[in-house]
Symmetry: C2
């Protein structure tokens, strides 16, 4: 039977056709008025999409590049930083901070868990210069409470900058960086904005820009001050990924258009982002109810809407499920990473997914379970009906 390849992965995510067309048509030079007009427009759109008054910087790199920039630009060797880690991407903050010579304190929790403010408060020192955390820990499908962390830092009068990797958080959870006191918020292109990998972006507070005046870590390609200066003229310091920037503009236009009204036919980007978050939330809830109705348990103690991590039952290798979905249906989900491999499987919801995608994946999962794991006793319809009911309730 025909098997279409379909990504249900937390990045890359399914591409938006309008962005693909813009990318294919992006035959422009980057030192021209045409590019400058495009880039200025995209930078303004990103401010609205992020929901901030702060300047946004775009880097031609993966999200890890923006994470590195948030360390190399904001710290000096020997600086004390605090990393909140409960998964693979938390650990990446530790590695990055160590690579740049920081003294790294951590609040380290088991995979799938999140942090209490008391745990963070206990590790926050008077000389902590920055706190690094994920809005959503992609490896475990867990949402961390950024608002609570921001409030804690304020109430402690901490000078620590709050740096949030929101690479899978943007577009899947409500974030208000300006009100919550977030100093750096990081996004990536191959996530909820529905374009291929290759771009990252950072919104940077004035407090963080000031910090950069005095920090001593080396940086060149990821020198944010240089990028900020160039961005004012609609340029980037080095050759930018032009086609991806064109795609990003088209994707942000599309997100805005999702909130079009007869009075505002061009749409509204802030409202479009809220709808994108609502979409991910609803799909995540459909998925959570479906897998639980099929007898699975959720891995995360605080599940986010970017992806749902599901425990494989005792004695079952989650790879069997991933492999069955791919080989029989062309549907790509992800196994656990690192020590979680074989123990969980993860289904993504961020970006360009709809009701029909979600139902189809549940129906494929049921086929794989019935055929490959008959010992689980899965019955057709068990997950599907649960997902349908969630949708029906939400669309009353």
């Amino acid at each position: 039977m025909i098997r279409k390849t379909r990504l249900f992965t937390p990045g890359p995510t399914p591409l938006l056709p309008a962005a693909q067309f813009a990318m294919a048509a992006a035959d422009i030079h980057h030192r021209t008025p045409e590019f400058r007009a495009l880039f200025k427009r995209v930078l303004e759109q990103l401010k609205v999409f992020v929901g901030t008054q702060n300047d946004v910087i775009v880097l031609s790199s993966s999200g890890t590049g923006a994470m590195e920039a948030s360390v190399s630009n904001l710290t000096s060797p020997g600086d004390r930083v605090l990393v909140l880690s409960a998964g693979k991407f938390g650990e990446r903050w530790v590695s990055l901070a160590k690579a740049f010579g920081c003294h790294v304190d951590t609040v380290s929790k088991a995979y799938g868990e999140t942090f209490t403010t008391d745990e963070i408060k206990a590790e926050l020192k008077p000389d902590t210069r920055a706190v690094y955390v994920q809005a959503n820990e992609t490896s475990t499908g867990t949402r961390h409470d950024i608002q609570a962390i921001g409030e804690l830092l304020k109430s402690e009068n901490s000078e620590a900058l709050l740096v949030v990797d929101a690479i899978t958080g943007l577009g899947t959870t409500h974030l208000d960086m300006d009100a919550w006191g977030v100093d750096v918020l990081i996004g990536g292109s191959q996530k909820a904005v529905m374009i291929p990998p290759g771009l990252s972006y950072l919104a940077v507070s004035e407090r963080a820009w000031e910090r950069m005046e005095s920090t001593g870590n080396p940086r060149y390609y990821f020198d944010l001050r240089k990028e900020r200066k160039n961005a004012k003229n609609g340029e980037s310091a080095y050759t930018p990924a032009v086609a991806l920037i064109a795609a990003l503009g088209a994707a942000l236009d599309w997100i805005a258009a999702q909130a079009a009204t007869p009075e505002k036919p061009e749409g509204d980007l802030a409202e479009g982002r809220r709808k994108l978050v609502d979409n991910a939330e609803l799909i995540a809830e459909m998925t959570r109810q479906a897998v639980q109705a099929m007898g699975f348990t959720l891995f995360s103690h605080a599940p986010g809407a970017a992806a749902t991590a599901v425990n494989a039952p005792e004695g079952v290798d989650s790879g069997v499920i991933c492999k069955g979905l791919k080989s029989r249906f062309g549907a790509i989900i992800t196994n656990g990473q690192g020590e979680m491999q074989g123990k969980i499987f993860r289904i993504a919801h961020l970006g360009f997914f709809d009701y029909m995608d979600t139902i189809a994946l549940v129906a494929a999962l049921e086929q794989v379970l019935v055929k490959s794991l008959p010992q689980l006793g899965t019955t057709f319809g068990s997950g599907l009906i649960a997902a349908q009911q969630v949708f029906a309730e939400a669309s009353r």
Copy 2:
């Protein structure tokens, strides 16, 4: 919520990405060696796809153009022809034959029915010059028995040419034109070959080529002998739809690749076509079982695999279902045509559809019924489980 637009229509059908890319890249002139090589290759592929030793002609027109060519090239004014009609496309044969001055006999059955050989035999006259029929009547979702009609004409020693509109039949039902004595078999681009509208093609028997030497109806753009002569050099008489021809080549490559084996990594087009038919058959059976489990009845007495026509229940306008699927889920199915409007709805299976598409449509249909037609008492899962069971049985 996000709603992706998805076609479940019996033409145009969902586009094959590989064909879209070939179409976008088709920046070549049609009087060059590059085009001649492409066109010769596509014509050879089409012979294999149709499954014939006869020459195949490609026209830059919709399928109706090839239907007209099958009348204007094969008849003279006053010729007696027999049209087998049980739907909108059967009626089109009548209109075409009348437009070219033929004396038209018909076997006319109610929409949704098919013909017995006795009924055809009763209308077949010694001077019947051609018999026109559909392999699949798209307007009613009905398969006609072309093999039986071919055998009847042989057993009657009829001189009538057998002309078969297989526009939605090719790639959805087994056809063997050479063995069955079919003289003209017509296909279209926006059907099982998964590319946009704009091309039609005809396989033409030697008997039909001979007939053209003596027929007197006017034809110019659709002069098949002129096209045959040009095709030998890899050209078409008039400017061809180059991008669509490139897309068709890519689509036929893809169909062949569906039958790739380690020994034959490039695949096999004849076997690929069989798999395409099997795919449509399985999806049609999933759909038929799903809608019947939901309490609907089938409109056709002899349902084909190109599309399933479903009766709207007493007192229900089928337009409500079509409209609900489109407005709530972006899923486009078709209403009945002509007098069937409001009475049936049609779900297509021809071309680029898979298990996940099929399940997703059934799940969307269940949502529409539960919300918009609560009097039907549809329960979630009723159609889905039936469709899942058909698939599970087939993939044992």
